[in-house]
């Protein structure tokens, strides 16, 4: 991707966000009492003002994007490795699974599964260490947060830790 493409895409995205906010989100999801006398005190004033500035930033990004002459691709700090999208999709699935499993499995078990799944997703060269850490790290964190910090860590319906 070149700088020109990046700036232009960001400009369009910013304008789209601003349009979505101004036309859909603010009118429908920001409530304002009918007796507000002055616009600057209205709960919608600040979101509208920020939306306007976002649109302006988008426009400026578009202008600078179009004015950009260089076609040199932007340097990537870490290039994409083979199978990147599969792993990124896998990580997204792990996050969704964590959200769904937390109430049922509880935090320690869910985190153990998430740790192991993530380590293997990253193709760890130390599978045994990964499994040991997958059990120990969530347990140590459970002990700290539940026993030291007094946090009501969700226990789930399968196993209840002391």
């Amino acid at each position: 991707m070149t700088l020109r493409t990046l700036q232009t895409r960001l400009g369009f995205a910013a304008i789209a966000i601003a349009a979505l906010l101004a036309l859909v989100a603010i009118p429908n999801f920001v409530s304002s009492p009918s007796n507000v006398r002055n616009i600057v005190l209205s709960p919608t004033f600040w979101p509208y003002a920020l939306t306007g500035m976002t649109a302006l930033a988008g426009l400026l990004l578009l202008v600078t994007g179009f004015r950009e002459e260089g076609e040199t691709p932007l340097e990537e700090e870490h290039p994409e490795a083979e199978g990147a999208w599969i792993r990124i999709g896998g990580l997204a699935a792990i996050m969704v699974a964590v959200m769904l499993l937390l109430p049922w499995l509880g935090m320690p078990l869910t985190c153990m599964a998430a740790f192991a799944a993530t380590a293997f997703l990253f193709r760890t060269r130390h599978p045994v260490v990964a499994v040991i850490c997958a059990v120990l790290v969530p347990l140590v964190l459970y002990v700290f947060f539940a026993k030291v910090a007094g946090v009501a860590v969700p226990q789930g319906e399968l196993i209840r830790l002391p």
Partner: protein, 494 residues
């Protein structure tokens, strides 16, 4: 309360094993976090934050300050040994540190980095103690219009943390300001973007947003390329830094510390520009200027003094005005908030014991940094060898526990994951996350002070220019905008 009474109150609060142990452990965590490329001091502070919830406020904040200070020094270790700065602030250290490592003088370079860091840290802490109280007493007379002008000026911080593109930084800040509007309206109590969900009525949890924005994208980047971190570490070599080396670089260290204090006390400048300015000043004034860039020990000393001189000074605007000096102090604000403390001038009245306790802790931190740093230099090889493909899953699990612990709410974990993906998209599209976080923190304060001013004046905008203090901050804002416009004019793209 007299200075002596305040000092004694602070001492009574901080003179405990837990407080000093927290500070020491914090420095250890910070040095390790800073020394692992890709983890960074910012992420180390963000990940340590949840552990402070159960602690006494002073203990928790000292732990975080320890991580901050340790992290800034820790960043220099990989900068010298593997030419990868652990923190952006250590970028200048590479210039002479890595050539020294290539000549087999890594131990000497690291030793000088430590000595310069500790000296600059001490100078910076003394500046904090001297100036924060004075600034806070001045800020006690602020009303909503003065705070509005101050916060508006503070938002020009964004120019300093925008990185390569000011426009992308501005877009990031605007998104942060927009996200900060979620929740109940401050004046009328009506819903804004809550979508009927009670979880959103209090707004998005600050800790979930910041951990999502700074820690989760690194985990996602690991999925994108699990082997990107693999590199080669250099040996320390036999030579060590000597007192003669230190004395020869002393002028540059003190000059760098002063530059760090000055730039650190201005919100948003940060440690990286300070390190580069200190380095260039040292090169300009040094008799060995021809050797700079080829492995000159004075270059290492100057850049490390520049970046560590910032560490204490960034706390000046944080403690005195409630405005974060950089992104790490923006995270540290979270620790104050979690413990029901609001940094700012009133803290010097209501919680003077905590303020002086922090001052005492900070002075001790320079000594601890020296001890921990000396050990860390020898132990870096072990830190560097922690497999990142095991470290990152641990970071993910730590984030889940930490964010849940804030409010005992699974919803916050979802917010963190969502913000993680936002952060990843920002990383890929080169939108800096720091302006987003700073705007997310300052947004409600800005809106609140603006609307309070309007309520006070019957919606007359003239109140925003009501006296010398507001004029002063408007003037500074104007100057900052002119400076930004000039720098933008000099280096496109914006």
């Amino acid at each position: 309360m007299s200075l002596w009474d305040s000092l004694m109150a602070g001492l009574s609060l901080v003179a405990s094993f837990e407080a000093f142990a927290a500070l020491f452990v914090g420095i250890v965590i910070g040095v390790i976090g800073g020394a692992i490329p890709g983890l960074s001091a910012t992420m180390a502070v963000a990940l340590t934050l949840p552990f402070t919830f159960a602690m006494q406020p002073i203990t928790g904040i000292l732990l975080l300050l320890g991580v901050y200070k340790g992290g800034i020094f820790g960043g220099s270790i990989p900068a010298i040994l593997i030419k990868t700065p652990g923190t952006p602030a250590s970028s200048a250290t590479i210039l002479d540190g890595h050539p020294m490592a290539e000549k087999g003088e890594a131990g000497r370079a690291l030793g000088m980095a430590l000595w310069a860091s500790c000296t600059a840290d001490l100078v910076s802490n003394l500046a904090l103690i001297l100036f924060a109280g004075w600034l806070a007493s001045f800020a006690l007379s602020f009303g909503p219009p003065e705070f509005f002008a101050l916060i508006l000026f503070s938002l020009t911080i964004i120019a300093g943390v925008s990185g390569e593109s000011l426009l992308r930084g501005a877009l990031s800040a605007l998104l942060g300001l927009l996200l900060a509007t979620v929740g109940l309206d401050l004046v009328y109590g009506t819903n804004r973007f809550t979508f009927g969900d009670p979880n959103l009525m209090g707004g998005l949890n600050f800790i979930a947003v910041l951990i999502g924005l700074f820690a989760i994208p690194e985990v996602i980047m690991m999925a994108r390329n699990p082997t990107a971190h693999l590199g080669r570490t250099r040996a320390l070599g036999g030579t060590k830094v000597t007192l003669a080396d230190y004395m020869r670089s002393f002028k540059s260290i003190i000059r760098g510390s002063m530059i760090g204090v000055f730039l650190g006390s201005i919100p948003g400048i940060g440690a990286a520009p300070s390190a580069f300015l200190s380095y260039s000043e040292a090169r300009r004034k040094s008799p060995n200027r021809a050797n700079f860039g080829k492995g000159e020990i004075e270059g290492v000393a100057a850049s490390e003094a520049g970046n560590n001189g910032v560490a204490g000074a960034t706390l000046i605007p944080l403690l005195a005005l409630g405005v974060p000096g950089d992104v790490i102090t923006a995270i540290i604000i979270g620790a104050f908030m979690v413990h029901g403390l609001q940094p700012g001038p009133m803290m010097f009245v209501l919680n003077v014991d905590i303020i002086y306790g922090l001052f005492i802790g900070l002075i001790v931190s320079s000594v601890f940094l020296f001890i921990v740093g000396s050990v860390a230099i020898r132990g870096f090889r072990f830190v560097a060898e922690i497999p990142k493909r095991i470290l990152m899953p641990a970071v993910l699990v730590l984030c889940v526990y930490g964010v849940f612990a804030v409010n005992n709410n699974i919803f916050d974990v979802g917010v963190m994951f969502a913000m993680g993906w936002v952060g990843y998209v920002m990383l890929r599209t080169r939108i800096p996350p720091a302006p987003f976080l700073i705007a997310f923190i300052l947004g409600p304060l800005l809106e609140d002070s603006f609307r309070q001013s309007m309520l006070m004046s019957g919606s007359d905008p003239a109140i925003l220019l009501r006296g010398p203090i507001t004029w002063f901050f408007w003037g500074l804002t104007l100057l900052a905008i002119i400076a930004i416009a000039r720098s933008v004019g000099r280096k496109l793209p914006v």
